[in-house]
């Protein structure tokens, strides 16, 4: 009785204390930061000294930081375009941080709680990796913020006892926290909807007063609601299969025929292959889990689980174009590593498995199941991958490149050991990802200045990059930018402007010195046994008169060094660029802008001339969903085009928060990065690989045809050539492949099977 009374008194006392503090119902909200920083409405300030509810463990060494709340745009002098500010709110403009662990005790009534934490936008060093882990007696959660911008949230259960609720905050480098909410379990749903979600949206998308001015579009291709079966209604969900190259939109209905479409594919022995299926929810599910056991063939051989990559499609709010503002829509994009998650009624969850058939995998039908568990309800999805007795070959003359920002430069200058290791891991992981996806070239740059009469460039830095690239088989000519803008500034005391919009013709001494710079670089490159450098002085010059005159003189100055080749991102079909033709060796344009016949003619007339393509319409720059078109660009389309290289902008485009495509001057697109530094692909990236694989099937058959001809097997060669002719004649040739006039996604696979069948038939002739 007395214990109960004491407990009751203690409870009453605690409640009275709490009543004087900030609380919403029985929940507690803390805005962490300096005492004088902006305070979010209904949040209580929590600085390094603590407050009446929350106390830091004695001796905690905490730092605090606050940034101003900005709403004014600035102007980019080079492009002349406006740039939005970093949109901070009262909640995420300030934070507490530390390089050491910290303990926080909250004087809250005993009971079960959920703890929500907001962390991000630390500013400062772009190479700092922030890792924050919060633990309670009931659970933990962690996240990383890469560099100076990015918002994350943590959620964990916690239990308070008579002494309160204890949280441990730890880090591998430095941690930071903007805000905490401690919410009784019973209040969670309401607080999530009314408080947490709006603040998370403010921080991770745009502040509500800014987002109000944006228009949310619905780009979902609409299908009629299917007639749900009795079983589907009972289950509360429907599982279906759609070809991986056709997007599944967030709230799109499945088509009836997709319910019975089997999840199956075939692969050669050194190939990855996607297997996908989707779940449409007819009711809410709190937890969806997935597991996949190894696949087995009839002989008992397995495709191990380690060769089956489990992911799901994350829907992102995206802009219609990377540089547009004020409109956005929700689109399928990132292939996140699988994790247990909830699923709301009326939404899709697309599971994306990528199976690797390594060299030496015995041929056969490998079967298994993906086991879904939706709120303890189990559902099995049969899977099948047929592995073929084919080892694919690639056309070694083709260049599959990426514009790329090498993370290795951050390794040397990262501020702490963990960050250094993180950037190292990112370096190697991305190179392996690029290699495994079929890439064999990356862009790079040289920068420097003139000292003691000679141009000093960062040769050693580029050496590191070239050596790394060579480890991964990147052996193609190196697209290399160099310090033309710096040289221009020396003579003209100003910038050239984006697309050379501000350029004026420099004096002759500029061009003399440019030739000298290139000569020095080329001498060093030969001395170091580098691959050929393609000299890339300026990106995307315009067709304005001044721009073309300047570029012509620049290219001429570069070509004054014997044996070097020049590279330009410009359309060779545009009449405005005609004066450049004698001085450009590698044209790189966005569409397949000239015909195969013209390419062959011009290349035959001038050795060293090549035509490359940077298909930004397939990289996500202006659309995240042309998956089928991207496959065509990278495979059959490239084969038909006569172009020799695809090198889109860019492997990873990040501006502002890498998980927020609406902030900053340009939208993010293409590959993302996980908390541990490893790459996270997007659906378009998978289409690069699959297109390259289509090309490998084509090339393998072409090589077999030549082998047949060389061995007098002309009938067999002619039959195989007829296959290639049939495919070639069925391509609706376009400068850009995106959405229109494309084969159905299934048609690609039928043509690939046609190639595979013929390859296997011809291989038998040589007893392969």
């Amino acid at each position: 009785m007395f214990q109960v009374l004491k407990s009751a008194c203690a409870a009453i006392l605690a409640l009275a204390t709490i009543g004087a503090a900030v609380a919403q119902g029985a929940s507690y909200f803390f805005d962490l930061g300096p005492a004088d920083s902006p305070l979010a409405e209904a949040f209580s300030a929590l600085d390094t000294k603590g407050n009446s509810i929350a106390q830091w463990q004695a001796g905690s060494s905490l730092s605090e930081k606050s940034y101003p709340l900005e709403r004014d745009w600035s102007t980019n002098a080079s492009s002349g375009k406006g740039t939005p500010p970093v949109y901070r709110t009262a909640l995420n403009c300030d934070f507490l941080s530390s390089a050491a662990s910290a303990q926080l005790t909250l004087a809250v009534p005993a009971g079960k709680y959920r703890v929500w934490a907001l962390l991000g936008h630390p500013g400062g060093d772009a190479k700092q990796i922030w890792t924050t882990e919060i633990s309670s007696s009931s659970g933990s959660d962690s996240a990383a913020v890469i560099g100076n911008l990015g918002m994350r949230q943590l959620l964990l259960p916690a239990t308070a006892d008579a002494k309160g609720l204890h949280l441990s905050i730890s880090t591998k480098s430095k941690w930071l926290l903007n805000a905490l909410a401690v919410v009784p379990e019973a209040e969670w749903a309401q607080v999530l909807e009314q408080t947490i979600t709006p603040h998370w949206q403010d921080a991770s998308m745009l502040p509500r007063e800014v987002l109000k001015k944006w228009t949310l579009l619905d780009k979902t291709p609409k299908f009629p609601e299917p007639a749900w079966s009795e079983q589907q209604r009972q289950n509360g969900f429907a599982v279906y299969h759609r070809n991986w190259a056709e997007p599944v939109w967030p709230t799109q209905f499945p088509r009836p025929q997709e319910f019975t479409a089997p999840v199956r594919a075939f692969a050669a022995q050194n190939e990855y292959e996607p297997l996908t299926f989707s779940i449409y929810a007819l009711k809410d599910f709190a937890q969806v889990d997935l597991s996949v056991a190894p696949l087995r063939n009839e002989q008992g051989n397995t495709l191990p689980a380690s060769d089956i990559d489990l992911r799901y499609v994350r829907y992102m709010f995206v802009r219609p174009n990377y540089s547009l503002f004020n409109t956005y829509y929700e689109a399928p994009d990132v292939l996140m590593p699988w994790r247990s998650q909830s699923l709301s009624k009326g939404r899709n969850l697309r599971v994306w498995l990528t199976v690797k058939a390594a060299v030496g995998t015995p041929e056969g039908f490998y079967r298994g199941e993906a086991v879904l568990t939706l709120d303890q309800q189990e559902y099995k999805v049969p899977l099948c991958l047929r592995v073929l007795p084919i080892v694919l070959q690639k056309d070694q003359e083709l260049v599959f490149g990426q514009y790329y920002r090498h993370p290795v430069s951050s390794v040397l200058t990262a501020p702490d050991d963990y960050s250094r290791q993180w950037w190292r891991r990112k370096t190697y992981a991305e190179l392996e990802h690029l290699r495994a996806s079929g890439m064999n070239a990356l862009t790079a740059g040289l920068w420097g200045n003139k000292k003691d009469g000679r141009w000093r460039e960062n040769f050693d830095s580029l050496q590191v990059i070239i050596d790394l690239q060579r480890e991964y088989g990147f052996n193609k000519p190196q697209i290399c930018s160099f310090n033309v803008s710096g040289l221009y500034h020396k003579y003209m005391k100003g910038g050239m402007g984006s697309h050379l919009r501000l350029v004026k013709m420099p004096p002759p001494e500029f061009f003399t010195e440019l030739t000298e710079m290139v000569r020095d670089i080329e001498t060093e490159a030969r001395n170091r046994q580098w691959p050929e450098l393609l000299y890339y002085p300026v990106d995307e010059p315009s067709t304005a008169k001044d721009s073309v005159e300047f570029m012509t003189a620049v290219m001429k100055a570069i070509k004054a060094v014997p044996g070097v080749r020049t590279y330009i991102t410009a359309d060779p079909a545009h009449e405005g660029f005609a004066p450049l033709k004698p001085y450009v060796d590698v044209w790189c344009c966005q569409p397949f802008s000239i015909s195969r016949e013209q390419i062959q003619q011009e290349m035959a007339a001038r050795p060293g001339l090549e035509f490359w393509c940077y298909p930004n319409h397939n990289s996500g720059e202006n659309d995240h969903t042309p998956v089928n078109g991207t496959r065509m660009t990278y495979g059959f389309g490239l084969w038909r085009s006569g172009f020799r290289c695809l090198v889109p902008w860019i492997y990873q485009s990040t501006a502002g928060d890498p998980w927020n495509y609406l902030d900053s001057s340009s939208s993010d697109f293409d590959v993302r990065t996980d908390d541990d530094g490893t790459p996270i692909p997007v659906t378009i990236w998978e289409a690069y690989r699959e297109g390259i694989d289509d090309g490998r099937y084509l090339n393998t058959l072409e090589k077999l045809i030549r082998r047949c001809q060389a061995n007098g097997l002309h009938t067999e060669a002619a039959a195989a050539q007829a296959d290639l002719d049939l495919i070639e004649n069925s391509i609706y040739v376009q400068p850009k492949y995106k959405f229109d006039d494309l084969w159905h996604p299934e048609t690609f696979d039928v043509y690939r099977w046609m190639l595979a069948s013929r390859i296997m038939q011809l291989q038998k002739l040589f007893q392969l």
């Binding site: 305070l39 745009w73 046609m754």
Partner: protein
């Protein structure tokens, strides 16, 4: 204890949003100005309505003295007068000289009007500094594109001088898709300088990324549309496929009396258009069907619809037939799996106008390269896609020919032959 330093950022920002949008007040024109580009009329001697222009995408401080605009109106039309300074008159780009050519690529002015502040549809009238007009209407900015066949009825004239040029434009109300005579309009005036130091200027103070950023248009006040009688809200030419098409004309009668409207539909240059007269009750909106036939020989011709009210041309629209799709859509798939257990299902979109294809009969056959028919069938079209199910109990891998023929009422509407390569599926 709550920290007294409470930040009201959220409330402050919301208040800013609630502040008044940019507004332009029209000058009332007691007499219609003569459209000669001289700006000699008295109404143009008043202070300009729009005095500040900003560099597109940048916002911030206005660029000094580049461009000023007057906006005036009487009961029939909107008048726009412009005075543009130009540092280098000889370097203006003036490539286009014919109506509806892509004049937006030349030096000139762009006038955007959203007659009901819908923030989704708008009219765009571009006038080059050579006086050439390109106009179009976008029904839905989010999902559609600009229809350049739409005619605003605008007339314009330009005068040039050593340091700039002036322009006058008359835009009649009657030809604009006014969906509510009481509503304010959204307006945006922009200037393109394409010569040396190419630049784009906007009259909108709020930062925009494109000229058709309708959410940020200014509000145009002072319109008097009380005399507006009939408006054309929409013309849709229909599917524009071979066969019997149906165009739709949507009209609204704003007046208090029944309005009689004559609709003429014909091929451009044809002497005897089909005519129909429509009575629109007072205050009502009607949707009128105008059937028309598209045949193969119409390729390259333009189909026109003109609407007249009280003897005056209200609006005219045309659709040039630049392409006539084949009757049988070609997916370019030439290889197919065959299986004894499952039919091969081919979905072939039929590219004929609905009235022509409905209840047409599709005969199909698959023959080998020796011409021997292996299988055949027939289906009656009830929708736009023909579904053919081919059951292969016999098939072997190899090359075949799919023949298609579409008939209705004894006439052949289309036929096609497509090669087919049959393959055993990977799963057999």
């Amino acid at each position: 204890m709550i920290n007294p330093h409470r930040c009201l950022v959220l409330l402050a920002c919301l208040a800013a949003v609630a502040a008044s949008a940019q507004t332009f007040q029209l000058i009332k024109a007691d007499r219609a100005p003569k459209i000669d580009g001289k700006l000699s009329e008295e109404i143009w001697q008043q202070p300009p309505v729009i005095r500040k222009f900003f560099t597109l995408g940048v916002g911030g401080l206005p660029v000094p003295e580049k461009c000023v605009v007057w906006l005036a109106a009487d009961s029939d039309a909107l008048y726009v007068a412009v005075n543009c300074k130009e540092e280098s008159m000889s370097e203006r780009i003036l490539k286009y000289r014919k109506k509806d050519e892509p004049v937006w690529q030349d030096d000139g002015i762009e006038i955007f009007l959203d007659p009901a502040r819908s923030k989704d549809s708008y009219a765009q009238i571009i006038v080059s500094s050579a006086g050439v007009i390109m106009d179009g209407y976008c029904q839905s900015k989010a999902y559609g594109s600009l229809d350049v066949s739409w005619d605003s009825g605008a007339v314009a004239a330009v005068q040039t001088g050593p340091e700039g040029w002036t322009m006058e434009v008359r835009i009649p109300f009657a030809q604009l898709p006014v969906s509510d005579p009481q509503a304010d309009w959204g307006i945006h005036i922009a200037r393109n300088q394409r010569g040396r130091n190419s630049e784009h200027l906007t009259c909108l103070e709020e930062r925009i990324q494109g000229f058709n950023d309708l959410d940020r248009f200014a509000i145009l006040k002072g319109l008097d549309l009380s005399k507006l009688t009939v408006s054309l809200l929409n013309i849709d030419f229909g599917e524009c496929l071979l066969g019997q098409n149906n165009a739709t004309v949507v009209l609204k009668n704003w007046s208090k009396q029944t309005a009689k409207v004559r609709i003429q539909s014909s091929w451009q240059g044809k002497l005897f258009p089909s005519r129909q007269t429509v009575q629109i009750p007072a205050g009502e909106q009607v949707s009128v069907n105008c059937p028309w036939l598209l045949q193969a020989q119409d390729l390259g011709r333009s189909r026109e619809i003109a609407i007249y009210h009280q003897g005056e041309l209200l609006q005219k629209a045309s659709r040039k037939i630049t392409a006539i799709p084949e009757v049988f859509f070609d997916s370019r798939q030439r290889a197919f799996y065959h299986s004894p257990d499952q039919p091969l299902v081919l979905e072939i979109p039929i590219q004929l106008a609905e009235a022509s294809r409905t209840d047409a009969t599709l005969n199909w056959s698959v023959s080998n390269l020796q011409g021997q028919i292996q299988t055949q069938g027939q289906c009656v079209l009830k929708q736009s896609t023909a579904i053919i199910r081919i059951y292969w109990s016999f098939a072997q891998d190899g090359d075949y020919l799919l023949q298609l023929q579409l008939h209705k009422d004894g006439k052949t509407l289309g036929q096609a032959s497509r090669p087919m390569r049959l393959l055993s599926a990977p799963w057999q």
